[in-house]
């Protein structure tokens, strides 16, 4: 047994650490696409469903140009975390077919190894792991070593596993995990001395961290039972004593400590931990067994009165337990287990997943048995599926409710379109843009002609043109007057003024020409932009209408898809809950059988004890006669 118990421990220890390493290995150096960062934001919160959805959306919208390969790898990892092993494996294999770089290939091999390991394909896991190049990062190396060692242990190659763990680097946070696994591997390989030494060292280590304290308890418990099995009771007691009385392994440690005492005949001493177990309001296996162990110890020390008392108490306890178990079995049959599991299944902030808190037990008959069962790994896995499906159902129902709103939105837009479209069509029909283009063409020709003719007067301002005209008219009027010196002088002055005006216009001409050309060009751009907008509006007028029909079709298709998936989810949930019920009943019935066996033992021991007392009384009366 200890071998299997240790196997159980190592499996969990590996699972516990592997999640961290996985997260580290996908973090990019720099987020270069915002949407990729958004996927990571959800992934780092273990919200795999939302992360996958965002990734699929971003991929569809071509928003991941800089993280294309990484995104594919991340998607595989997310699918793996979300329990989609088939899809994850297929994706990783597809990625290997492509021209992926060395670093990425190593990560793919890592995930494929992990999938094979999880599926129990250890040979395949081992072969895949060999393809991974030795990483530089110590944490990744430690993670790989742990995975490698676990694969070897699964294949029965415990000495190899221990050697791998010995050579592995031990970065901060990994040392204890590597050490406990190495201790386990050595014990399983038969190197008891070394295995003990490692677990002993770990078991003595002080830590403020609860996880490490629990690990230390596990090491001491495992080692204690190993020694007990080998008949080294005194040593076993030492290690079992180290297990904390507040920790999760306290009951098993107390029971083992009592058995260690009995191994060297100290039944009185054994009663101390066993009676402590009886005081607990627990119904776990160690407490059940303590109900048999206590009268056994009293019997051994010759206190048959107390022995009988505790055997009777044990019988009452077992009878009550049988009754509770019967009720629990009935509850499982009646579907109460499923209602228990449904609690907390719809949480707005979670997309299903593991049940992190025990559900409340109100109104559930013998719920505590069901909760005990829920803590088992296989139950948790099936329960996760059940809860995931519950979330998916809730999600699709919400979408279905919204579908009506989408129809209304499209309809409202269609109405708005139909109201505005005639006005827009009328404006488009007036073809204002053509008039603008014609007018611009006119000015553009003027400027170009002017540029060729070099006539500064064409670029005179309105005021200058007016002044020019006045001077021209003045000169004409003066020319018509008799040739008198006074008029001649006035004519000269007018000519002079006209010359000054011309000089002013001419000296500014180049700047004016440049400015005019610039303005015409800008105007050309603006009219071009307006023409494009005109065209866009004209196209949109047709497209938008077609778009409404497109939306209608899309919404209807999606609605049909929702409606076809919902019953399948219900069937999936029913199957999952049936499977859970089956597992629960199997476990409850096993417990029932075990209790029946304990009860038989207690009755047999009690009858024998009565028999002994009767025989003793008979002998005493015979002696007295």
């Amino acid at each position: 047994m200890p071998k299997l118990a240790l196997q159980f421990l190592s499996f969990w220890i590996w699972l516990a650490v592997s999640v961290n390493g996985f997260a580290v290995s996908v973090k990019p150096h720099e987020v270069r696409d915002l949407q990729y960062g958004e996927v990571l934001f959800h992934f780092y919160q273990d919200d795999y469903f939302t992360a996958i959805t965002h990734l699929l959306v971003a991929r569809k919208q071509n928003h991941l140009p800089h993280h294309r390969q990484e995104a594919e790898l991340l998607l595989g990892g997310l699918q793996l975390s979300y329990g989609m092993l088939d899809q994850a494996e297929a994706r990783f294999n597809r990625l290997l077919d492509k021209d992926t770089d060395r670093k990425l290939r190593n990560r793919i091999w890592f995930y494929l190894t992990k999938i094979s390991y999880q599926r129990g394909r250890h040979e395949q896991a081992f072969n895949t792991l060999q393809k991974i190049e030795k990483p530089k990062d110590k944490k990744v190396r430690a993670e790989l070593a742990l995975l490698n060692a676990n694969i070897h242990m699964e294949m029965g190659e415990n000495a190899e596993a221990a050697e791998i763990l010995r050579k592995a680097p031990a970065p901060a946070g990994w040392e204890e995990f590597l050490r406990i696994n190495r201790g386990i591997a050595l014990l399983r390989a038969g190197d008891i001395k070394k295995g003990r030494a490692i677990l002993d060292k770990l078991g003595k280590k002080r830590s403020g961290d609860e996880e490490l304290r629990a690990l230390r308890d596990r090491a001491n418990l495992g080692l204690g039972y190993e020694l007990l099995r080998n008949g080294e009771a005194v040593q076993a007691r030492k290690y079992l004593n180290r297990v904390r009385l507040q920790g999760p392994f306290m009951q098993a440690a107390l029971l083992g400590a009592g058995w260690a005492d009995t191994e060297h005949g100290d039944y009185e001493q054994a009663l101390t931990p066993w009676l402590a177990l009886l005081k607990l309001s627990s119904h776990d296996a160690p407490v059940q067994e303590a109900h048999l162990a206590v009268p056994y110890a009293f019997n051994k020390i010759g206190d048959s009165k107390r022995s009988n008392y505790f055997y009777k108490q044990a019988l009452e306890f077992f009878d009550k337990e049988q009754q509770y178990l019967g009720e629990a079995i009935q509850a499982a049959h009646s579907g109460a287990l499923v209602s228990l599991l449904s609690q907390r299944s719809i949480d707005a902030n979670s997309s299903g997943g593991w049940l992190n808190e025990h559900p409340t037990l109100e109104n559930v008959p013998s719920g505590r048995y069901l909760v005990d069962i829920l803590s088992g790994h296989q139950f948790q896995e099936s329960l996760k599926d059940y809860r995931d499906l519950g979330y998916l159902k809730h999600l699709l129902q919400t979408w279905l409710e919204n579908i009506g709103l989408y129809y209304d939105m499209v309809e409202a837009r269609r109405l708005a379109y139909e109201q505005r479209a005639p006005l827009v069509r009328k404006r488009l029909g007036e073809n204002e843009i053509a008039a603008l283009q014609k007018s611009w063409q006119h000015y553009n020709t003027l400027i170009q002609d002017d540029s060729r003719n070099n006539d500064p007067l064409n670029l005179a301002t309105g005021k200058e043109k007016q002044q020019w005209k006045t001077l021209q008219q003045t000169q004409e009027k003066l020319a018509a007057l008799p040739e008198q010196p006074r008029f001649i002088k006035m004519q000269d002055k007018a000519r002079w003024l006209q010359g000054v005006l011309y000089w002013q216009i001419q000296s500014d001409y180049k700047v004016r020409l440049w400015d005019a050309e610039k303005q015409v060009k800008e105007l050309g751009n603006m009219i071009g932009e307006a023409a494009r907008n005109h065209q866009q509006v004209a196209t949109a007028l047709v497209d938008v209408k077609a778009g409404f029909d497109g939306f209608d079709t899309r919404i209807e298709t999606l609605r049909t898809r929702i409606l076809s998936l919902l019953p399948r989810i219900d069937i999936g949930r029913a199957n999952a809950s049936g499977h859970l019920q089956e597992l629960a009943l199997k476990e409850l019935e096993t417990r029932q059988q075990r209790l029946a066996s304990y009860r038989t033992q207690a009755r047999y021991a009690l009858a024998r004890s009565y028999d002994q007392v009767a025989r003793q009384n008979r002998n005493e009366s015979e002696e007295a006669q």
Partner: protein, 174 residues
């Protein structure tokens, strides 16, 4: 009595043994495969619904998204971020430990998605947090964003200034 001891010990051993067996026992493969297929199909459907909703509620011509990211040392702890666009408050977000951890590890949060007409708009953002020795920090930034025809993405990045090692906003238009 040794026999009883052995029976009891065997019983005790069953307890972890059962758990160990559970850890490795394969679940009903058919159910697992069905669940995987359903997940795949719902994910694809969810993606298509998500796209439809985005196109209807936030058409690309008017869509504006504001993202928040962080690149700060361990001495700053973000509490909340407030965002105003054209004087209207569009986001006031309080962070959980989990979200903060996700931001510190490189995650990027879409803090707001909305609609704006083409043209210039004023964006004002504040963040509140705690610095060394639990000292309160409040920093803000104001900028004008230019909304063109396509969707507009703005990244608000909380970064440590190299000159004083204090967190400040950096704004990037994508």
């Amino acid at each position: 009595m040794k026999a009883l001891y052995r029976i009891i010990l065997a019983g005790l051993m069953i307890w972890p043994l059962l758990l160990a067996a559970e850890a490795k026992a394969p679940a009903e493969s058919g159910i697992r495969e069905d669940v995987q297929t359903l997940k795949q199909q719902v994910l694809e459907l969810n993606r298509d619904l998500f796209l439809l909703e985005e196109e209807l509620l936030f058409p690309s011509n008017t869509q504006v998204s504001v993202f928040l990211s962080m690149n700060v040392g361990e001495f700053f702890k973000l509490d909340s971020v407030k965002l105003k666009i054209d004087g209207k408050e569009v986001a006031d977000y309080l962070y959980t430990e989990r979200e903060l951890d996700a931001l510190v590890r490189g995650g990027v949060q879409r803090i707001h998605i909305g609609n704006l007409r083409t043209g210039d708009h004023e964006l004002v953002a504040f963040f509140i947090g705690k610095g060394p020795h639990g000292r309160d920090y409040k920093r803000g930034t104001t900028m004008t964003i230019k909304k063109g025809l396509g969707p507009k993405y703005v990244e608000l990045k909380i970064v440590d200034q190299t000159k004083n090692y204090q967190p400040e906003f950096e704004v990037k238009e994508w």
